[in-house]
Symmetry: C2
Subunit: 219 residues, 2 copies
Amino acid sequence: MNRTDPVATPAGRRSAKSLPQRDADATRSRILEAAKKHFSQNSYEGVGVREIAADAAVDPALISRYFGSKEGLFREIAGQAFGAGKFLADGIEELPARVIRILTGEVDLGDWRGGYDPLRFLLSSIGSPTAGPILAKYLERDFLAPLSSSLGGRNRRERAAILAGQIIGFAVMRIVLSISGSDPAEKAASRRVLAEALATCIAPDREPNGKSRSRKPAG
Amino acid sequence: MNRTDPVATPAGRRSAKSLPQRDADATRSRILEAAKKHFSQNSYEGVGVREIAADAAVDPALISRYFGSKEGLFREIAGQAFGAGKFLADGIEELPARVIRILTGEVDLGDWRGGYDPLRFLLSSIGSPTAGPILAKYLERDFLAPLSSSLGGRNRRERAAILAGQIIGFAVMRIVLSISGSDPAEKAASRRVLAEALATCIAPDREPNGKSRSRKPAG
DNA sequence: CGTACAAGTCAACGATCGTTGACATATGGG
DNA sequence: CCCATATGTCAACGATCGTTGACTTGTACG
């Protein structure tokens, strides 16, 4: 909410001179980076502020000072995690290919610096009563809503939810087990089946009580 | 591993006489029930043994005594959570209908006593470095492996993983957001799309390098 | 130069964590 | 009846939790 509440940048930009030992913005960024990493590897309750602070080479007290609380820090990360609709950057018809590329490990997601992964971040704390609702809020705002409006046709909200669920679900399997591992043939098979399943949700919804054309995947 | 290590049933069955104030089996069961509930509502790290004990009307020390540790208690629950292959009870072709019934809320899952839900249980602690590997182990043993062998055709393991991912993924969306809510028409649409997506994975895999028919989602 | 204030340090708070060992009590077989 | 013991109670351990307030130090402006 209030970014510059307890802390405000004091002077104008220093640009590039004598790099000072004290830089609020840089410290803030280091905390955020460390926190993103740790929240991607452990549940919300399982991550301690001292771990984050140690990783960021920062005093633990600064977390409460800069972000109000551990929850505030988490909320700020969640607000950026699903942001900018990167999945929809190339339009809806390119989404399956992009999703598959991400899920099968050929990552082009923007920020994997230091073990951070938005999908892991989401899954790690989805079970927490504190962090869960926060994640739900921003997942809705930054992913589900844009996706829903990108989908044409009827029942777009339901289809968007199922589509998002497929992405998340396969991320679970990829993370929890060691899926899509070695064999390139298996990897190709995964890609194929996954593409088909995703296409099912992206294709405009058909009539529930029309001619009821059978849509078996293979004739 | 060693159930009766520190605790062994002392005497033969007492069946039905004068119900005693001390019953190790009943106490054990009460702890398990309470723990299942709490582990379905909070992450592994977020659940305290004192909460569980209070809910079970039991001294917190008994948890360590009966299950060795909090982790031992969790492991025992995980060992039963995905068990008995209930999803495959009616055969593989009945799985989509069963999954959809469960996911859309018309539950016929065996045990929903007291807020316990195997899918919530799985998701709540999947992010924990302690509980995650335990969940992965039993999910593999009790769900993915049977499902994989139930699926015919090639690449069954990949298809099983994707199928499991779809189930889990839609469970995420149902839990995290309030999906499949009010409108019966929307519910029907969800059911339809979901059924189609599931069928895609269940259907036997096709040739990867055949006539290379273009697979754009919409022409 | 010196002073005002931002930025960071430090120690400690009260709370809760999982676990342990000593102790009390109920229970059933001799 | 009485005692061995299965069962449960209790208090406390050391560790870690998130957070706070007072304090020190760096930095930039007058």
